[in-house]
């Protein structure tokens, strides 16, 4: 059953003569336990697609449904609640908060207003599963790139989302750490995973590989 469905997505960036339609009727459906990789050239709209799927950006037209909940037309607060409980983001630059340790970065997501209960227990489990126990108290600047990305994945998963959206998750990592991160994403169960990447290694772990060209996913 599809937990992520997007239909007829249209997005234009820029104005006037500089306007460019980067999504032009894009369609996507991802089921639980499925990993989908989206490939495309730089500037093809991969990240924009991911942002629209996660409710961070609004499409000009079309619909996005996460676990049956429509994102398009929702107010900011409603979108935030959907992101909190249904969606996990993994970013290329990790985006850990520098003042907080790796563990605190993960914990923070469980302390947001409206976060599902049992967050502390899930944090402990994730830290153990991802092998981050020995460095849990370290600040981000004391962690390797691979460790930072694993904490970022833990943060994305800690509220038990049904959809994980990863934007170039291995883009800032060396080959070894990149492979480890991909293995983690591949191993996620009961979740729809969308990876936006331009790296063939990332695409290799996907169940399905889609290409974004001329605003359409093929």
């Amino acid at each position: 059953m599809a937990v992520l469905e997007a239909h007829d997505l249209v997005k234009t960036v820029g104005v006037g003569r500089g306007a460019r339609r980067i999504l032009d009727g894009a369609e996507l459906s991802v089921e639980a336990d499925e990993v989908v990789a989206v490939l495309g050239r730089s500037g093809s709209g991969k990240s924009t697609l991911l942002h629209i799927l996660g409710g961070l950006d609004a499409a000009d037209r079309g619909s996005v449904q996460i676990a049956g909940e429509e994102l398009v037309g929702r107010a900011g607060g409603a979108l935030a609640r959907i992101r909190l409980r249904r969606i996990g983001f993994v970013f290329q630059q990790f985006q850990l908060i520098e003042e907080l340790s790796g563990l605190e970065n993960v914990l923070l997501a469980t302390r947001l207003p409206g976060a599902p209960a049992g967050g502390a227990q899930r944090v402990r489990e994730l830290i153990d599963v991802l092998g981050l126990g020995p460095v849990a108290g370290h600040l981000p600047r004391a962690l390797s790139g691979g460790e930072q990305q694993r904490f970022a994945i833990a943060r994305a998963l800690v509220n038990d989302p049904v959809v994980v959206l990863a934007d170039e998750p291995t883009g800032s990592l060396d080959a070894e750490n990149g492979a480890a991160v991909l293995a983690i994403l591949r191993g996620l169960e009961r979740r729809a995973v969308v990876i936006v990447t331009h790296e063939p290694e990332a695409a290799a772990i996907a169940d399905r590989v889609l290409s974004l060209a001329d605003g359409r996913l093929t």
């Binding site: 961070l56 909190l84 983001f89 908060i97 907080l100 997501a109 947001l112 207003p113 409206g114 600040l139």
Partner: protein
């Protein structure tokens, strides 16, 4: 510089909200700066202005009435005399206007002209003939007297006197701090009585020297040749200034102190704002350096951008500060018989404007110059602030969003400190003003604050009513006659002394706080006010020679110095028997001072006293003469307090906005993780808690330990003021800070929640 303009305009357009916030800060700081300049310059230079405008003489000599020709001959014989004028000063006149009557000093001028020691500020000077009069401006304004009005003098023996001009005479403070002064022309009086007096009398000489530097030599010569002129005393310009400073000293000292605090607050605010702006834009500088711009080009753009914001906002702030404080400061100056600064303010205000406009621009340029000297790669990282160490880590570990907010603010320790100092100073300032306002109200309304233990005063009852009958009235605890006469110091006759006497000394009825010594116990002892002690150099054990209205001299030993606001502290308390022995006429000044029991029924006591022919009135606090001064002081405090409150609010909004802007990536990550507007508010709440809590502590400590005691010391010559803020004002200021914090959080969170998450993630 040409290329800097378009770059600066582009920069401003892309950061409109930030520019508005920065401009607001500059405007507020400029307003405080301008207010400080108006108050301190206006008051600080008031005497010099008044001296210039009035042509105040270098020496004023007062003496007992004597023939004009004899004085003139002596003065003409002195060396270095440029010119002189003689007048008769009648200190016990009465002036009436529209049914009102008050005591007045009538200055009978010998020859009105350009140099009479006063400045005509409205209308014209006196003519040589005609029943016309000049009126002191402060008195005219207080009573609604205009040029063209008619006054009565005494029993109207001169007929209606037409007011032809309003004047300011800086040799004394104005009405109601001192008696109202009016000026008459002697030739006009002579004309009224049918011809000149044969031997016109004078008691005051104004002398202008060719070279004021020789004033001491001229005075020595004058003293040596003044035989035959009784009770002569000299006052120089410097001496007059000291006397005025004593009269208005507390007010000027207070306002200058408040202005200094305002200046410090404004400086801290501007510095923090300028530094923060540059820090925030380090990443942009890195990019521009990377594409080949020089440090000089970047700094020039920075200066122009700074000027584009600071010129309009600084100008607006300077005008706002001027408008807020010029009126109250001018009213205060009028009470001191000094003219407002007028156009004389242009250059200090111009300097303030230059400071308000130039300082932010230069403040932005200097850190930009320093910052752009580093490696470009370091600048490129500069957009989001890197954490240094773990500020507040121990306390906020696992503290959630509020704890994170605390840490984000704490990561910028210098700015955190600057913000805390700014807020703390402002809080201390507001606390001080609340404490001061409370003390002023107490002084004005509570007679106990001035040491008056009696609640009622009454005229003496008919002789048929025995004192015992009065004492038996239920509610009356004690009753005694109170005598009050206006004496003069025998050595300095111009120094009037409010002499108060009770049987046995009267400590049970009137006992202002003792500064030193003890209360009057015997017939030859006196307690004197600190103002009088300062003016005459009296200490415990000194001898005070009082020239009483009877003409006799009473010598008493000073045994105590007390704080008293009455008559600017120029008071003496003596034993009633002694006073009546030397001045039997003082009996006519007697009134009854009535101390009530704690449970007394005012109405019943009043009715009983009225039935016995002694209708009472309620004892007041500071004399009515002090009320306008208190009102003006309150107006100034209010104006500065409003500016101060706005500074607090701005500092909090600025801190929140900078936190959000510098940590926009952090905020965007939180929002990407599902944080809504409520979560952003919690984050900012933590940020403001990190500022408000220490600032409140700093503010209370500063007020209680530094500002309050310092101002109390300044005022100790006049009254014992307890300026340590109590729990009420502290609670009010903390509540105000919290309210400002909530406004700041709400306002900034609203904007932050509307920003694009995607843009924020890009940093």
């Amino acid at each position: 510089m040409t290329a800097a303009w378009p770059m600066a305009l582009i920069g401003l357009r892309s950061r409109r909200r930030r520019a508005v916030l920065t401009g607001l800060g500059i405007a507020l700081a400029a307003a405080m700066l301008s207010a400080a300049v108006v108050i301190s310059y206006g008051l600080g230079t008031g005497f010099a202005r008044a001296t210039r405008a009035a042509g105040l003489p270098d020496v004023i000599a007062r003496f007992n009435d004597i023939g004009e020709h004899r004085v003139a001959a002596r003065i003409e014989a002195l060396p270095d005399i440029a010119r002189f004028a003689l007048r008769l000063e009648i200190v016990d006149g009465e002036v009436g206007f529209h049914g009102r009557q008050t005591g007045t000093i009538v200055e009978v001028l010998d020859g009105p002209g350009r140099y009479d020691g006063y400045a005509v500020v409205a209308g014209r000077n006196l003519p040589r003939l005609g029943s016309e009069v000049l009126v002191e401006k402060a008195f005219a304004d207080a009573w609604g007297i205009r040029v063209g009005s008619y006054l009565r003098l005494g029993d109207n023996f001169l007929g209606p006197l037409r007011v032809v001009g309003l004047v300011e005479g800086p040799d004394d403070v104005g009405y109601p701090l001192a008696k109202a002064r009016i000026y008459l022309s002697r030739p006009a009086i002579d004309a009224h009585f049918g011809g000149p007096e044969r031997f016109p009398q004078v008691d005051l000489a104004e002398i202008w020297l060719r070279n004021p530097a020789y004033v001491n030599e001229v005075l020595a010569q004058a003293r040596a040749t003044s035989f035959g002129i009784k009770d002569i005393q000299f006052a120089t310009r410097a001496g007059i200034r000291i006397l005025l400073d004593q009269a208005a000293g507390i007010v000027i000292d207070l306002l200058v102190a408040l202005s200094l605090i305002a200046l410090v607050t404004a400086g801290v605010l501007l510095a923090a704002s300028a530094r923060a702006e540059v820090q925030r834009r380090l990443g942009t500088f890195g990019v521009r350096r990377a594409v080949g711009e020089t440090r000089g080009q970047i700094v020039r753009t920075q200066v122009v951008e700074g000027l584009l914001v600071s010129v309009p906002s600084g100008s607006l702030g300077v005008v706002a500060g001027l408008v807020a404080t010029y009126g109250p400061a001018s009213r205060l100056l009028e009470l001191l018989n000094e003219p407002p600064p007028g156009w004389g303010l242009w250059w200090p205000l111009g300097l303030a404007w230059l400071g308000a406009v130039g300082f932010p621009a230069l403040g932005a340029a200097w850190p930009a110059w320093r910052a752009t000297g580093g490696p470009v790669v370091t600048l490129l990282r500069g957009g989001d602030v890197a954490a240094r160490g773990r500020p507040f880590a121990g306390r906020s570990r696992g503290g959630g969003l509020v704890g994170l907010g605390v840490r984000l603010v704490g990561a910028r320790r210098v700015r955190w400190l600057a913000s805390v100092v700014t807020l703390g100073l402002s809080a201390a300032f507001v606390l001080l003003m609340l404490a001061l306002a409370s003390e002023l109200s107490t002084l004005e309304t509570d007679p106990g604050a001035l040491g008056k233990k009696y609640a009622l005063t009454a005229s003496l009852p008919p002789p048929s009513v025995s004192p015992t009958r009065l004492r038996r009235i239920p509610g009356i605890a004690a009753i005694a006659p109170r005598y009050e006469v206006n004496a003069a110091d025998s050595f300095e006759l111009g120094e009037t002394i409010d002499t108060i006497a009770f049987p046995g000394g009267g400590a049970a009825f009137e006992a202002p706080a003792l500064v030193s010594g003890h209360r009057v116990r015997g017939p030859d002892e006196a307690d004197v006010g600190a103002g009088l002690a300062n003016a005459l150099g009296l200490t415990d054990g000194s001898v005070l020679a009082l020239a009483l209205p009877s003409g006799r001299e009473l010598r008493v030993r000073v045994v105590g110095i007390v704080s008293s606001l009455d008559h600017e502290g120029r008071v003496a308390y003596i034993e009633a028997g002694t006073l009546l022995r030397y001045d039997p006429g003082a009996a006519s000044s007697a009134s009854l001072a009535i101390v009530l029991t704690p449970s007394a029924d005012y109405g019943a006591v009043t009715a009983a006293l009225t039935r016995l022919g002694a209708p009472p009135s309620v004892a007041t606090g500071a004399t009515a003469r002090g009320a306008p001064l208190v009102d003006v002081l309150r107006a100034i405090l209010r104006a500065v307090a409003v500016l101060d409150g706005l500074v607090c609010l701005y500092a909090l909004i600025q801190a929140c906005a900078l936190t959000v802007f510098e940590r926009r990536r952090t905020v965007a990550v939180l929002r990407a993780c599902g944080a809504g507007a409520g979560a952003v508010r919690r984050l900012l709440l933590g940020a403001v808690i990190a500022l408000v809590v220490p600032a409140a502590m700093v503010g209370v400590l500063l007020e209680r330990v530094v500002f309050g005691p310092a101002l109390s010391r300044l005022a100790e010559n006049y009254a014992v003021l307890n300026l340590a803020a109590g729990s009420g004002p502290v609670a009010a200021v903390v509540a105000g800070l919290c309210a400002a914090a909530l406004v700041a959080v709400g306002w900034v969170a609203r904007g932050a929640s509307r920003d694009s998450v995607v843009e924020g993630l890009r940093g």
